[in-house]
Symmetry: C2
Subunit: 482 residues, 2 copies
């Protein structure tokens, strides 16, 4: 383990985070809010701690980072960001309780969007901007993590989706990571700006438009309004957000190809087709149900269905309507949707479509294999054969995910939450979605979750965001042996 | 396909079934019930149809049966049994509706135990005996199927648990099947007799003791009483049934070794240990909860917890208490338990412990594999390494199972059932357990499920009983090609 290198990198991260905290100040000045001292102290303090770590830890030129260092950097990075990220909330006093502040910031950096704030609109502008910024920074981290770092670490059998970097057999982080990251971030920034302009066109202020674009592209879900997107009462804004939530759930390399003039690559990608058709099917089914049972215009039913489904499946968590009130069984339907997630290589959380798709293909192929026991019939994804080794890795991930969901729900319910709400909360936090069910559902928030439950859910968010194994591996004794 | 051989075997099966129908007549005579004509007509009629099929279809001596024939025989066998098995109920008029009668008989032969009878005690003795007999015959079929036939057909990656027969590479049914089946049936009969004697010792009549032993060893769940086991109000009887339900959920080859003087083989088997510890953990947790929240003696809490948990996990479905009323969240807990099942090679249904165990081991090993990417670290079960090929087969099965559970629940809810009851019903029928949740739960039955839903659930029971693939493969076009 190269602890000095690790500390130096965490230091660098904290300098960045500190500087980003200051970006809310212009809005504080413009709106005359009184949170400038809190932002200044937090931002400069965080950057100072970062600078000390950076300066005191020397790294030899081109010192190589191992996989183990990688695991530790990723988990420590998210923890350090969530820890220092609480400072503005605590110093200002908007969230005086540390547990709450940590939950809120972890929810931000993991792009979950679960909130403990009962009155979001009472929080000053600069802090709200920082709150949405945690999403955006978390999303940036996830893009480079999921498309460049995790495949090298070999997590969850996703390495095959990574043409840009070397396979999982290499033990060193690849230098091309930086190149890949830069390109993907450019797309991320571009999409954020595009949505911001469209939202302003739809009537949002620059402030609201930026905050909601941060929340959308990161598939986060923090809003600046108590009523979330319902506040704006604008079909145009809702459609814009539906489209960009859908984009946020798409593999960013596909956006990259589209911008390079290959827009048809979207539908050449097997996972994207699955994602698209799955959403279409669920949205149209729910639209049909709502149209039969509600006396609203068809467009209304479609918009509410599309917004809710895309919001949950992309793991964003914005809300326009309390879908649990459509009918009692929608709680169960949305509980299932909470366990999906969108595409790999996006900012979305959860299991991801491609894992289910490959396992489902494997299940259906099994019928053929039984009929032709001597034939070699591998699952194919984008025309590439997928080995049983990868299938076994994917199965390992999905089973562990469901295991954590089930036992986490029971554990959380012991802290005092009703079991169905606990199931919703764990599914929503593990999938980095935000709103769960019942007392943690779309019509409410996480304020009333018991203290212990908030810590538990903070860890669950981190586990989900870092694809479980990245965090769990740190608990393995053999990780720490030479 | 050797259709003549297939028909001949189905004919043989029907002769047996017809003869077994007559076995209830002594009880009808003893109790003076008026169902003797119905049993005679049904029994002799079924045997006659069987005899015609047997005689008109010639089979060359030692004509070989292929795997494809095997699939067809198994599915057709269960369908034919369930079809002809309805005759006594319909001719007598105890269940005049064919849908209901088919549901009840399929529930019997698949050892599910879900009933549509609102007043079981109004049904005459001979018919009730036949009803319990369908369980027992179904259980006999399952033992030979799961331990001798399915491994040859290569279903669900279970072939490795079969030391007695050849591996899945052979294309012909192994002649040793007969030998294995005989030994296992002897154990099945022995255990049934042992339970019958103990239940009589506990105060049951021979009739009730036999019927309930049939229901226990087959992990069925049909009772002769409306209140199921609660009727007898006898802790002794409940403990006897707990133990035998537990036995019914144990791999029958372990019983075989035990009877050959190797009782310690139970705990040498990895799946058995998992099954045992899992049950112990759940029972003790629930006992603790009940002891804290109910003002009953500890023994009461333990007995009710043990009975309910063993009944569901062994996929039997006998009832002593409405566990859904312990607390609202017990519905969710039992819904999860409905998705487990007991040991492979037992009469229990569902996914089975060993599949979850292997997948779970695979998930935990993944952490080690990430740390030592170059090491070969296979999952081991009973000290045998398990290839990724098998892991992929098991994942294929489990995913398909959960997929059918989820989409089946939604489909069933469209027929008019509330979604949570539909989920309970599909989980309970797919796992061949019996009582589901809510309106199909332990305190009620399946009488009010809509007509279409009953057909749907009948198919679900068959799918679950035959480990899904056996049935689905018949729907594949390439199955029917030369």
């Amino acid at each position: 383990m190269h602890f000095r290198v690790i500390l130096k990198i965490i230091g660098f991260l904290l300098i960045l985070i500190g500087l980003f905290m200051l970006l809310g100040i212009p809005f504080s000045i413009y709106y005359g809010s009184d949170d400038i001292p809190a932002l200044l102290i937090s931002g400069l303090g965080t950057a100072l701690v970062g600078a000390i770590l950076w300066i005191t830890n020397k790294m030899e030129f081109r010192e190589e980072i191992t996989k183990r260092d990688g695991y530790l950097i990723v988990t420590l990075g998210w923890l350090a960001a969530s820890f220092f990220g609480t400072l503005p909330f605590i110093i200002y006093g908007a969230i005086p309780n540390f547990t709450d502040a940590f939950f809120e910031t972890m929810s931000g950096f993991t792009t979950t969007g679960a909130t403990i704030l009962n009155n979001i609109e009472a929080v000053p502008y600069g802090l709200l901007f920082w709150r949405s910024m945690t999403h955006w920074l978390g999303g940036m981290g996830i893009i480079v993590l999921s498309l460049a770092i995790l495949p090298i670490l070999g997590i969850g059998g996703m390495s095959l989706y990574q043409a840009e970097v070397a396979g999982p057999s290499k033990d060193k982080l690849h230098p091309r990571v930086q190149e890949t990251a830069k390109r993907l971030w450019a797309i991320y920034v571009l999409l954020t700006l595009a949505e911001t302009i469209l939202l302003m066109f739809g009537g949002m202020s620059l402030f609201d438009a930026l905050c909601h674009s941060f929340g959308t592209l990161a598939s986060g879900g923090f809003s600046t309004k108590n009523a979330s997107i319902a506040y704006f009462n604008s079909p145009f804004i809702e459609y814009v957000i539906i489209v960009f939530m859908f984009f946020a759930g798409t593999n960013f390399t596909l956006h990259y190809f589209a911008l390079k003039g290959k827009p048809f690559n979207y539908f050449k990608d097997s996972e994207f087709r699955f994602y698209f058709i799955f959403i279409l099917f669920v949205v149209l089914s729910i639209t049909l149900y709502l149209d039969i049972h509600n006396s609203q215009p068809l467009e209304n039913s479609f918009r509410h269905a599309a917004f809710s489904v895309v919001s949950i499946l992309s793991s964003t968590g914005f809300v326009t309507v309390d879908y649990e009130r459509w009918a009692p069984f929608f709680s169960e339907i949305f509980l299932v949707l909470l366990l999906f997630g969108a595409c790999a290589g996006s900012t979305s959380g959860g299991v991801k479509m491609v894992r289910y798709q490959i396992l489902l293909k494997n299940s259906l192929l099994e019928l053929k294999r039984l009929l032709h026991p001597k034939a070699v019939l591998p699952v194919r994804q984008n025309n590439e054969p997928i080995s049983n080794h990868i299938i076994s890795k994917i199965a390992a991930f999905v089973l562990l995910y469901i295991f954590i969901f089930l036992f986490g729900s029971i554990a959380l319910s012991i802290t005092g939450l009703e079991l169905s709400s606990a199931m919703g909360a764990v599914a929503a936090c593990l999938g980095n979605i935000g709103p769960g069910l019942g007392s943690t559902g779309p019509a409410t928030n996480y304020a009333n979750v018991p203290e212990l439950g908030k810590w538990f859910l903070s860890i669950i968010m981190l586990l989900g965001r870092l694809e479980i194994f990245t965090v769990l591996i740190l608990l393995s004794p053999s990780f720490w042996k030479k």
